[in-house]
């Protein structure tokens, strides 16, 4: 039990995928303009990441390893992630067309979100068990979502600020992301 809590704390706060591993930066900057979109993206990513890490673990242990074809890991995992994203996309399209429109291109882009593939491959490298792998995926997704939502809140406020002309838009967002990463370094050392 402690093991799982540690994995969660580690992936959400200490080794946050966005702020310390710098994975998944593209949706982090792309869908953080509004808190509501960020929330929708969070649900989608947590769902995809948890399932992707579980299923890719099964694929690794049940197919790739027994057949000795680990060199196909990348293509296999990408296929799993892509079908999961396709599924999520269909569900969101049917249940919430507004969210579907708001997420736009970034929804199919979860497929190539390095965060998701990163989790699946790290699970193999860290030799996690099935439950550990799923927890790791869920934690990474929640960590990603947390900073995405926090960042979206900040950007909504920055939009109302009197930012110098040369820093308006992307520059100030990147500076804020950097400062946020600086702040989150405070968690370093809590869990290795």
């Amino acid at each position: 039990m402690t093991d799982f809590i540690l994995i969660l704390v580690s992936t959400i706060f200490v080794n946050n995928f966005v702020l310390t591993k710098f994975l998944g930066i593209c949706p982090f900057l792309g869908v953080s303009k509004k808190v509501e979109t960020a929330l929708g993206m969070t649900y989608a990513v947590v769902f995809v990441m948890t399932l992707a890490s579980g299923i890719s673990w099964v694929a690794e242990k049940a197919v790739l390893e027994p057949l000795g074809i680990e060199y196909l890991r990348t293509i296999c995992f990408i296929l799993i992630i892509a079908s999961l994203v396709q599924f999520t996309e269909m569900v969101i399209h049917k249940t919430s067309p507004a969210l579907y429109a708001a997420l736009g291109i970034f929804l199919p882009l979860i497929t190539t979100n390095c965060c998701v593939l990163g989790v699946a491959i790290l699970n193999v490298q860290k030799e996690h068990t099935f439950l550990q792998a799923s927890t790791y995926g869920a934690g990474a997704g929640i960590g990603f979502g947390m900073v995405l939502i926090l960042f979206a809140g900040m950007r909504e406020r920055i939009d109302l600020s009197d930012v110098p002309a040369l820093l308006k838009g992307s520059p100030i967002s990147l500076i804020s992301a950097g400062l946020m990463s600086l702040a989150f370094m405070g968690f370093s050392g809590i869990v290795k």
């Binding site: 808190v35 809140g153 900040m154 406020r157 930012v163 110098p164 702040a183 405070g186 968690f187 370093s188």
Partner: protein, 379 residues
């Protein structure tokens, strides 16, 4: 008819009567929008009061750590003010230096620095605080992070050695104290005279000592007793190694209460922050008193009091609503305890506050009070 710059209550009332009775032709009426009764608060006045509240602790730090401390405070404050002036001038706007906010930022940053910080730490910190902490967002009122703290975090990560060299408090005039000339040499060149090494008089902060020794398997009592000889009396009074302003809990608390009395800050953030740190401290202390120090230790060491009264309460980077402030304060306190106890930075309060700064826009948005007559759902 000229518009009086400030109307009193009676002015407003007579004004109203005149208007309703239509005793005067409409053209001679003047209208001003509310509020007509103004408390007289202004940014310079608030900043001035906060600086005043910090003065006892600042003066004590100079008294305890000697001339170098004075230099650190002067250089940091001056850098902050000059940076602010130049940056705003670059935007072709009137210089806001007179509102004292840059001076306060500089002073707060200086109070988080080690007493013998070299001059370039002070300068880099001052520039970072104003440039990246404040002016890139558009200046006072727009910054996302507490400028002084984000600069301290930056310095701590970038220059860990300089930022964690804590001299033993030798006093301003005592026998071991540094002469004025030596202090200048120390800050600007890094050494006093050829051959003399600073390490001779450095020591660990109480929190650093506790973390280091306990991680080596000792008990709290062993870590703080023995050669280290931690004393509650000295720690409360500020006579221990540490950052300039982190040391005297007593004078900082006095300054904080002064701010409360002056209604510059409200009780929500300081109280919830102290509770957020001390309640877990009590719990863990009761569970295992040999591994976790008592709550009094947590209260009087490090920057908890400075953070709770002066840093977390920064008007720009803390939530507006009372509920938001309580959540904000309690989370700051809890994070402080977590980082102090398990994290890699024993003096973790600055991290706790800047981490919570990122959540302020959301806290403001989701703790909005409900307008009278509406429910939360259809507000």
């Amino acid at each position: 008819m000229t518009i009086p710059s400030r109307l009193t209550v009676s002015d407003t009332l007579s004004f109203w009567t005149l208007e309703t009775e239509r005793a005067m032709p409409p053209s001679s009426l003047s209208f001003t929008s509310s509020p007509h009764v103004h408390g007289g608060d202004s940014i310079p006045r608030i900043m001035h009061t906060v600086i005043l509240a910090l003065m006892p602790a600042t003066l004590l730090s100079i008294l305890v750590f000697g001339w170098p401390a004075l230099w650190v405070i002067v250089i940091t404050t001056l850098t902050a003010v000059v940076t602010e002036h130049l940056l705003v001038k670059l935007r072709l706007r009137p210089s806001p230096v007179g509102d004292l906010s840059a001076a306060l930022t500089g002073l707060l940053l200086a109070l988080t620095l080690p007493p013998h910080a070299p001059w370039w730490i002070c300068v880099v910190g001052g520039i970072f605080a104003i440039l990246l902490g404040k002016q890139v967002y558009g200046g006072l009122g727009y910054n996302m992070f507490n400028p002084a703290l984000i600069a301290r975090v930056f310095l701590l990560i970038s220059f860990p050695v300089e930022m964690t060299t804590w001299p033993h408090p030798v006093g301003l005039l005592g026998e071991e104290a540094l002469a004025f000339g030596d202090a200048v040499a120390l800050i600007f060149t890094g050494h006093m005279a050829p051959g003399e090494v600073m390490d001779a008089i450095s020591s660990a902060t109480p929190l650093g000592q506790y973390r280091m020794e306990v991680s080596l398997g000792k008990t709290v009592q062993e870590a703080l007793g023995g050669n280290y000889a931690f004393s509650y009396f000295n720690a409360t009074g500020g006579l221990v190694a540490g950052s300039l302003g982190e040391t005297s809990a007593l004078l900082l608390a006095a300054g904080g209460i002064f701010l409360l009395k002056k209604r510059i800050i409200t009780w929500h953030i300081p109280l919830s922050m102290l509770a957020g740190c001390l309640i877990p401290a009590v719990l863990f202390w009761l569970i295992d008193g040999t591994k976790y120090p008592d709550p009094i230790f947590h209260l009087i060491t490090g920057g908890l009091v400075l953070g709770a009264f002066f840093m977390a309460t920064d008007m720009v980077t803390s939530p507006v609503t009372p509920l938001g402030q309580i959540i904000f304060g309690a989370s700051c306190g809890l994070l402080t305890y977590i980082i102090r106890t398990w994290g890699g930075y024993p003096e973790g309060i600055s991290f706790a506050i800047v981490i919570m700064n990122t959540a302020v826009p959301l806290l403001d948005q989701y703790t909005r009070p409900v307008i009278y007559g509406k429910t939360r759902k259809n507000a």
